[in-house]
Symmetry: C2
Subunit: 553 residues, 2 copies
């Protein structure tokens, strides 16, 4: 009995081919580095991707070659994603927010052979050029007949111009490479806070499966009726896969370019009819500030997808109650392509009171089909999914890393990937990150969640941001120290904040001390750098007289 289905590999380039054939008129709109708005269709994009593939071939870029990019979210970056993947090459998105020497290290480690970059980064590229001996071509994402851009040629000998490169090539169609679906198509290094950065390699297969799962109604729910604004950068885990999932469904894509301030994003939402926007909480703070201060409203935006770090209940509440925008909380990592879980309600939650609903919504969500989750105790036992038991969060699935670039093992011997997070999972599958395993505070043998304390503090109207770190304590081993940034023009005392927290967390969780700072340190992707705070407050030693510790019983 040898009947079987067609054995066709899943290929990234087929997403754009599908969009071109079925949604040729759907638009891709980009705010460019040049300052203007660029607008074209999926049919146009595919045409240019074919040209680009020919140009890359002419430059000797083929299967397995690594194509580096230093670029904002925009149509040219999208073209690089697809032309590379179609050739069997790997689009390696570099994070321009890292330090120049980090970028150079990563590009060299990855073995990038060609580097495409936005005009913004001419100075950066000039400064690291000498450290990139394997890069054979430097290509500016613009045209040589743009006077400003042409100046860059003086800085970088042999500089090529993207528009010039593809102008002479044939578009319309291309005979794409055939290869196994496990062929790599993307590469993104994690901005680890310790050790060397590690490269996560995405395959054609993992990218397609992730796109299917992330577009489902209970995931981001993407359809041809959506206009998506990926604010999350294309250099940061492929903008959460939207450059793949939107062509899959034929929806409109809107790229913000370098303008990530509240005003620019708001204008783009309104002028392009954005229905769904995706980004980290910091971005939404800026957008909400802008909208709130000018008493504006959203005419088309229906949902924001929020990830990268936890959403505060206050933000969820403001989006929903003031602007009628549903916040979809998602969880993932560079190692999970990135989306692993999305927080969408079940019918049983319809009866919840708003406060309960917001509390549920602040959880990280349910696993997509294809990604399996479990939590494990320190002893390596499976912890129950009861919403109470905490454990290390382990994941596996076809879009989870097995091995980092350079053959560095990522998954454990038993096949699971340890996320480094401490989480609970409830009986309905809702996962909640309690802490990073390295940030959790062990006080008297019990865990205190720094994240829950921070969220409770950030619910206070005067607090802009809060961080909690553990500091040594003679009796309890560790106790929490809270570090806060106040909103401009606000005042708050330690005692007022402790009173606020007292109603929201267990008494023995109350921070033993609170310090008010002007700002907290953040990494290149906007993540809070607790390691820096730990260094800065290394002198902090609690005494055994602390009132709060005594409350514990």
């Amino acid at each position: 009995m040898s009947g079987h289905m067609m054995r066709m590999p899943l290929r990234v380039i087929d997403l754009l081919r599908h969009a071109k054939r079925n949604h040729p008129r759907a638009e891709i709109v980009s705010r460019r580095v040049e300052g203007d708005i660029h607008r074209y269709t999926y049919a146009d994009a595919y045409d240019r991707v074919c040209r680009l593939a020919r140009a890359l071939g002419r430059l000797g870029i083929g299967r397995d070659a690594h194509v580096g990019t230093l670029a904002w979210n925009g149509y040219r970056h999208l073209e690089l994603y697809y032309a590379s993947a179609g050739l069997g090459a790997v689009c390696h998105t570099l994070n321009p927010r890292l330090l120049p020497q980090q970028i150079a290290w990563i590009a060299a480690h990855a073995g990038d052979e060609i580097l495409f970059f936005d005009a913004t980064f001419v100075g950066l590229v000039k400064s690291i050029r000498a450290q990139l001996p394997r890069v054979r071509h430097f290509v500016l994402l613009g045209a040589s007949d743009n006077a400003e851009m042409a100046d860059a040629a003086d800085d970088i000998p042999g500089l090529l111009f993207y528009e010039d490169l593809i102008a002479g090539e044939l578009g319309d169609e291309f005979d794409w490479a055939s290869f196994d679906e496990n062929q790599a198509c993307g590469l993104c290094y994690t901005s680890g806070t310790t050790g060397d950065p590690k490269g996560v390699v995405y395959s054609n297969r993992s990218t397609i499966l992730h796109a299917y799962a992330s577009a489902l109604p209970d995931s981001l729910g993407l359809s041809v009726r959506d206009t998506a604004l990926p604010v999350v950068p294309m250099f940061h885990v492929n903008a959460w896969g939207l450059p793949y999932s939107m062509p899959m469904v034929g929806g409109k894509l809107v790229f913000p370019g370098p303008a990530l301030d509240g005003k620019s994003l708001y204008e783009l939402c309104e002028s392009e009819g954005v229905t769904v926007a995706a980004g980290v909480p910091t971005i939404w703070l800026g957008l909400l500030d802008h909208v709130r201060s000018r008493a504006l409203s959203f005419s088309s935006l229906r949902r924001t997808v929020l990830g990268g770090s936890a959403a505060s209940e206050a933000m969820i509440r403001e989006f929903e109650e003031v602007y009628a925008v549903r916040v979809i909380h998602a969880w993932g990592m560079t190692e999970t392509s990135p989306i692993g879980a999305v927080n969408q309600f079940k019918p049983v939650h319809d009866a919840l009171a708003p406060a309960e609903r917001y509390r549920l919504q602040a959880r990280q969500g349910r696993a997509l089909f294809g990604l399996e989750m479990r939590i494990e105790t320190d002893e390596g036992e499976a912890a129950p999914h009861d919403g109470e038991a905490r454990g290390r969060l382990l994941v596996k699935g076809p879009w989870v890393v097995d091995t980092y670039a350079g053959s560095v093992r990522a998954a454990r011997g038993d096949g699971w990937f340890d996320t480094g997070d401490i989480a609970t999972i409830d009986a309905d599958g809702y996962m909640s990150i309690v802490d990073r395993s390295k940030d959790v505070i062990k006080s008297g043998g019990e865990w205190i969640s720094s994240i829950e304390l921070e969220n409770a503090a950030m619910g206070h109207p005067s607090i802009q941001e809060a961080a909690v770190i553990g500091r040594p304590h003679p009796r309890w081993v560790e106790r929490p120290l809270m570090l806060c940034v106040l909103r401009p023009g606000h005042a708050l005392t330690c005692e007022q904040l402790r009173d606020w927290l007292r109603e929201r967390v267990a008494r023995w969780w109350l921070p033993d001390a609170v310090e008010f700072l002007d700002e907290l340190p953040h990494g290149a992707t906007g993540k809070l750098l607790k390691a820096r705070l730990r260094e800065r407050f290394a002198h902090y030693q609690f005494q055994d007289t602390t009132q709060n510790s005594e409350d514990r019983s």
Copy 2:
């Protein structure tokens, strides 16, 4: 650079494992052959599937074994789907509406080693038992302590009872087989009107990919908030994949068992809060008749998925205007798992007037991502996607058949599968079946679409069903003959019908003759059997004096 993602095979059993872990309380409700309503959860289902897998193992059913079923839609049938797939075995759904000798031929051809059947089919099984030497076990889907069922044991020596089999086994968890994702998991024979039936073999991979694609917002849009009623049988292309896609999203499943009449279906919709129902037009005719005649309404039903044969605009209009139920027209075949295209609107269609919208809705829809479509002229050239050009519809994709059971080649040498349909595709990707290639009428060198003529006729309030076949004509080679069934209590003359059609189709398409019949012949899956009509009207010969032919210019 050897970084890569986890290499995990896509497995059908993981759908149910996912549902058990993330949606343990979501329900599966079945109307049983026993007459009552059975109700349990995904957690219960998984438990029983583990028991069943152990029971099958004990009976010697393992990898590659073929497990035959003769069963209605219900929870036990679902359990057989999953336990077989989990073991690397193949669930072979037999169509009980075929003639006994056809069923015997198919079960023998497939090499079924065990046969599970509902009590309904005891007589059938008894009658074909002798023709199934390879079937080692006959298992009745019930318990031996049910008196009515126990009687069956007298008819079939060695009969086993499903509930007895699994009762003694351990549930909870099972160590599922590991195998390549191309491992077969399902088998369904096409009820071809000519030649021997052909077996389409579904794999774990094709089934999972089809489930992802068919659950997308622009496909069936399935979510945890849905309650799905697959009226389309599980023995007919796996009930369009709903037994897989619903566990994927954790939605509630409602199985109608053998009761497919309008009253039973309506009661199930209302009592279980069905939001989406899927079936062939004939089923909806019965449901609409029931609801219309009693002036009822639907309290939870939001959409019906309709396929198998074309939906009439009249039915689409009644569902939408009278009952506020959206009709989602889908297209597929046994060879395409089955869903290939789904008709969901784009934003550009929002401005359409109702009549135009219904006309668009009657088209077969846009290709899902993963399934590629093209149309080809008789000369083998690609026809343009302009909504006008007609051609043979070709498809390919990972859930399209390559080779039928028994190594019978299905796809062409160039990798495309010829559907046997004649279609148009417009610039937005909407495909419209114009005719079966064998039903199209070639009149004076031009094509007349029998389907379009039939749809136009069925839009008449007095017509219940219409069929058009081509009959020889001395001058035009072929001309259309229309065969109609009137609604009970209605009267209509040929001339009245021609007047109606004259406003809806090209003048030269008007049938040269109309015959009113008591009923039209249908096959086992409800499809109109035009071959029978052609036999019955073999005597029909048009004369050259026909007025209509003269109208042609």
